[in-house]
Every structure is written in C-alpha cells, then in structure tokens.
Symmetry: C2
Subunit: 425 residues, 2 copies
C-alpha cells in the first residue's frame, strides 16, 4: 500500500496538505459524517405515513381493531410483506416496536434473565460469558455486550464475512462463547456481503455451547446501491436443515426504509425460540403498536412495494456514495495513505488509514469543524488496536456538505499520513 517517496517530495506533499488544512480551518465548517441516518429527502419518500392509515381505517385484514390491546405477534399483513425479505417463515416472524436495536438488547435480557431454549441455565447464572465480535463492526452492538459485562472477542472480517477459521475454532472449544454478532448483507461499516459458504458454516458449525446464538442483524437486506440486488444464503433455513434451528435470531426493521424513528422492528427465529420469546414478551407487553403496523402495511403494500420504494432511496443516496468514492479516489488514490471499501449497498464506507493515525485524523477533522464517528467505534469497547479504521456515513448531509466534508477528511488523512511518513523515515 505504501509507495516509496523521496524525503523532499514528502515534505512538499505535507506542506501542500498543511496549506489546504489551514485554508479549510478558516472556512468555519460545521459538517457531520457521524451517524448512518437517512436524510430529510429520504424521509419525505414515506410522508404518506403522516396521514395513514386514514380516516375510519383501523381494521386489520382479519378484522382486528388495531387501536385496542392485543396481538403480541404483530400484524399478519405486515409480517407477510417482510417474511421473504428477511428469509423467515411468516409464522416465525414477529412485528414489534419502532426499533430492531431494542429487540437485540431485549434478546440479551431474555437470555440473561430467562432460559433460552437449549440452555442449561440463564446466561446471568452461567458465570462470565463471551460473544464473538467481527471487526470492524457496529458500535451499538458492542455497547449492548459492554453494558451487560459480556466479554467480546474480536474476529477479523474478510471479504466473505467473519474469518470462519477463527470462528469455528473458537466456538468449538469454548462453551462460554454464547454467540456472534453478524450483519450479513452490506455490513456496517465495511459493506461486506457474507458468502454462501460463510453462511453455511455458521449454520452447520459445531458449538461447545448448547445455547449458542447468531444475532443476524439483517439491517440492510433491501438497501441496494447497484442494479444487482445481492442475495445472501438463508441462514435460518440452513441451520434448521442442519438441526441447529434454535441457533438463529433474525433482526430487521423499516428504520431505513420508512421513518428512522417511527418504523417497525422484526424478530424471526425457530418455532421454539419464538414460543420462548412470546412467553417472556407476554409479561412485558399487551401488544405492539398495531396502528403503525397497519400504516406500514398499507403504505408498502408488498415485498415488491418495498423494493420499489428502496429504488427511490437509491436515487437519492447513490450519488452521495459515488461522490464520496470519487473524492477519495481523486485525493487519496495512489498516495499509499488509505484504502476504502466500495459497498454495493448499506449505509457506510470504511476508510482504512495507516496504523496509528485514525484517532489523529478524526481529531484534526474535528478541529476544522468536520465531525466523524470516533476512531475505534467500530471495535469492542471503542478500542481499535491498529487505530486505522474510520467509518464514513455519507447519507445524512446534503450533497454539497458531504462533498466538502469528504474533501476535508482527505486533507486530514494527507496531513497526518505524511507527518507519520516523515517521522518514520
């Protein structure tokens, strides 16, 4: 990745970066590339929800009055729309509240305080337990484990998913490893798509823990950025065929389909897991917000309706990803200072910079008004041992702001990168 540059040449490049940086510092920028949030124009695409389900319209297809208590499983017509998209049989898919993050959190709560099928006791009573954390990964996943004192073991991501040699070895030998975090399609933050072989191995591998769980956060199942609507293998189906049906917890939501704060979350699993989940849930809830589920079923209509809607998102955010990649290429291509992912979907680009420079780059960017996700956020406890990963979230800023922010980011990469190179000479 590095190129051999003469000392004189390097000094000139650093001077140029310093000049650019100083010029940017004078502009009083106020830009934010931190979170994977949809932009307002994306939310506008679902504005019909603001007047749905419509006057005097409150009955579900089966006649249920959605305004009243009941219906723990969620509205059937909405579950039917998402069952295929999330690769879960409709009878094993629940429609829940406004977030899948809370379902993942509550899955830990249920397993800690209840006894998950296959477990010999509650996780809370098993002594220290561990989870595999493919890195780089999603900070909010890691925060849940951190909160509950669950040790995370980082596993390197490859181009086909987590390194399965590492995964299969670890889970086979250590019964205190209770699960693994996975974002199988357009992974956060690398955009990685798990290969069929990776999915098959996850479904079939031997685990020392009888109560092992794959947290399958299919957050970007329909969030394509190219004409190729990437499909992944069906983990729940493969695990069921392999006799490991209870191993899989599937999560999804409409957060980045309709409204990020007012969508619907989904939980899918084996029949035994669903029965267990509902038994716990029935102590907590008298049913989800079925009116919002009716709103969503009416608005989206069908799985095809979801995919058609996602094309509108792509038309808005595709150019943002293209601009980001163009600027990275123009500014950093051939410098030997960085590599980056070129995702086919999802919400993020991962920028990899020389070891030991990511924190400094993020700090320098902040100084000139460009806020990035903290370096390390993609790793358990916020600690990236290589200090080399920066997550770029292109969707939320306007196109103009985004381009200014990415340009500033590349300036910081050059500034810090050339400084390091000179020091190392």
């Amino acid at each position: 990745m590095t190129t051999d540059l003469g000392a004189q040449n390097l000094t000139a490049l650093l001077d140029s970066a310093r000049q650019d940086y100083s010029e940017l510092a004078g502009r009083g920028l106020k830009l934010d590339l931190t979170r994977g949030k949809p932009a307002a124009d994306q939310l506008d695409l679902a504005d019909e929800l603001l007047t749905l389900p419509g006057s005097k319209t409150h009955k579900a297809a089966d006649g249920t009055d959605t305004r009243n208590y009941g219906g723990l499983n969620g509205l059937l017509e909405l579950r039917q729309i998402f069952a295929g998209l999330l690769q879960v049989p409709v009878g094993q898919l629940l429609a829940a509240g406004n977030s899948s993050l809370e379902l993942m959190h509550d899955a830990f709560v249920q397993a800690l305080l209840g006894q998950v099928p296959g477990a010999q006791s509650r996780w809370a009573d098993q002594g220290p337990i561990k989870f595999l954390a493919p890195v780089p990964g999603y900070d909010r996943h890691f925060s849940i484990c951190e909160r509950f004192g669950i040790e995370m073991i980082p596993v390197p991501m490859t181009e086909t998913g987590p390194d399965m040699d590492v995964v299969t070895r670890l889970v086979a030998e250590d019964a205190s490893i209770k699960g693994i975090w996975c974002i199988p399609k357009y992974s956060n933050p690398t955009g990685t798509v798990y290969s069929d072989e990776t999915v098959r191995q996850l479904a079939e591998m031997s685990t020392a823990a009888p109560d092992f769980r794959i947290f399958w956060d299919n957050a970007y199942s329909v969030h394509h950025l190219t004409d190729d609507r990437v499909e992944i293998a069906d983990l729940l189906g493969l695990a069921t065929a392999a006799g490991n049906a209870d191993r899989v917890f599937v999560f999804g939501s409409t957060s980045k389909i309709t409204f990020a704060g007012a969508g619907v979350g989904f939980f899918g699993a084996s029949e035994a897991n669903i029965k267990w989940w509902l038994a716990g849930l029935s102590k907590r809830s008298i049913g989800p917000d079925k009116v919002n589920q009716l709103r969503h079923a009416t608005f989206l209509g069908s799985a095809e309706g979801v995919l058609a809607h996602m094309e509108k998102h792509r038309a808005l955010i595709g150019p943002k990803f293209e601009a980001t990649l163009r600027i990275l290429n123009e500014q950093l291509g051939g410098t030997g200072l960085a590599t980056w992912t070129e995702p086919q979907g999802g919400y993020f680009i991962t920028l990899e910079v020389p070891e030991g420079t990511a924190s400094d780059i993020v700090a320098r960017a902040a100084e000139i008004g460009v806020v990035l996700t903290p370096a390390g956020a993609t790793h358990p406890l916020g600690q990236d041992p290589t200090d080399s990963i920066i997550r770029v979230a292109p969707t939320f800023p306007t196109q103009t702001d985004l381009e200014a922010a990415v340009l500033a980011l590349t300036t910081c990469v050059k500034l810090v990168g050339y400084e390091q190179k000179i020091k190392q000479q």
Copy 2:
C-alpha cells in the same frame, strides 16, 4: 354480611337460582367481562389520530424532525401536557413507547442488570429479593415479579390504600424488600384512592433497603367517573422533600385515553433516577416513536384537552358502571351473598363473595358462556387464599351484553352462594 335464613327459605332461593341458571344456559351466551379494555366507541373518540400528524407535518415545536432517529427523552410538548397530570416535573418525565407495562417491566430489568441509584449492587446479585403486593391488585404487575423470581408479600388494601401499619413495619425491618406496587388512584381492581396520609407515609417511611422503589402506576390519573375529579397527594414531591427522591418511579400512559394499543407511555422519577434510566436506555434505543408523540400532542393539545377528552369517555362508560352497580344491587342487595366497590373512577368493580366461592362462581359463569377474569388473578401467583374476590371489567362489552353478563354473574353468585349456605347449615 350474612343474613339468617331458614333452611326452607334457602332451598327456595337456591331452586330459583337454579332455574335462572338453567334458563341462561339455554341461551347460548357468549359474553366477556375479563379485561379492562376500552370499547370501540371509546377508541372512536381518538380517531383523529388515524390521519395525524397530517400531510407535511413532522416537525416538533423545537424544529426536530420527528421522523428521524434521536430524542431519547421523548417529545417535549407531549411531556408538558402530561407532567402536571402525572405530578412529575417536565424535565424528569420521559415519553416512551406504546405501553407503561413495558416500562415497569424494564424498570425491573434495569434494576436487576444495572445498578439502581442507592443500590450496593445489582438486584440480580443480591440474592432473593421481595416486593410488597397490595391485594387485591393487578395481575400483570404480579406476573412481572413472578417472571423474575421475585417473592411477593401480600399486603391488605384498606379504604385509604395499602395497610400502612403492615407496610412500614415490613420495609423497616427487611432489606431484601426492594419495593411496592401501587396504583394510587382508582386502583385496579378496587377503585381505592390513596389518602394523603398514605402517600405521605410512603414518601417518608424508613426503609431497610437503600435501593427501595415505589412503583407508582398512575394508570387512571384522569379516568374520572364522577364530577369530583379526585386528586391525590404528590408522592414524588413529598418524597423529594423528605430526602427520598430516588424512591419513586412514576408510570403512566395514554392507553385508556387515546388508543390502547397505539398510545404513549411515560416514566417519571428523580433526576438521579432519570439519568440512570437514560444511560441504560441509550444502549437499547435511538429514541421513541416521536411521530406518534407528535400525533398525540397535536390531538390532545393540553392538560385541559386531556381532561375534556376524558369527559367523553365518562359519557360512554359511566352508564356501564351505573348499570353494573344497579344490577348488583337489585340482584344481590340484602342477600348477604356479596359486597362490591363503587369506584369513582378507573376501570373495575371488585365483587367480594363468601370465602371459598369465587372460583366456583367463575367456573359456573364460564359454563353458560360468561367469561370472567380467573378468580385469584388479583393476587400474587394467581392465588387468593380466601377465594372471595372477583374482578368485574364493565367497559369493553356493549351496554346490552354487559347487562346480560352481570345478570348472569349475579345468578352464579346466588347459585353457588346458596349451595354453600345450605351445606354449612
């Protein structure tokens, strides 16, 4: 409560009850008095919500785009409407998801798996813990404790709230008692309103546990059935004044104000508790459904708007309570077979029958098609040691069905009651 009746007279009364029962059995009734659910005409009162917040209307008062992530505390304008009604300063009141039951459940989760302010360790690490359960009480409260293996100690309800002699003695001597369930206004199922003295004692009493919590489920704060809008003392204010601010968890919701499945829940507490709650919540959620909160703020408008809306509910359910009480009085008055509460608000009437007869009465009613809440449901683990309490929920059936169901119920009371009297002679 009993009247001295000759054996001959009793036999005649039993014969008459048997005849009525047999006549009812032939009618093929299918009636349900089980749950405290609003009826469809009550839900219709809030049907504006089906088209709110309205086209292009998604901004909160402070400019927040309610469609996007964020805002863990919930929408300020909605919290402002409910702060006074729930007696919680607006800065200490959170607006959350579609249910207060889930907030109560999650309060246990947070205290079990996190460390509540004042606690020396997590409740999960403290060995067996206990909760006080005023009886008769609400089955879903008790189910939460049961789920988490928390022992419940029944405390008798008096006309002014739980028996405070018992409560103050128990909490002063046993540090494993971590809290008490309270429904302070129009209590479920007795309709009891806690006296100012009871509230003061709860606020000021000494507790052996430093992490004692009062679960103040103010579910019926505005659910008046008379012109007298009953007010209770301000527990959080009194506890704060007594140096016990952290003792109080306040819960409320719009479930029986707007839509029972699609309303908004509230959590209120001291500043330290709220800070602790949000720290845990931030690992679980990126914010509640703010669009639904905007919908509610727009529809309800103000605290006065809430009270005006509740008058419409009263117009619909007041006659149902009146009819129930009228039939109970006509059929059971002077029989010595039952007493009942005459609530000034809320959702329930408690029918007290002779010891050992409640289960049988509920079973007999079921046999002729009238479903009642299981006898015992008002007690921890579903076990009423006196087998004498039946909860009547008049709101959900139509007026005609309700009257038929209550009449059938009184027939069953007579049938079982006279049978018992004859046996006992």
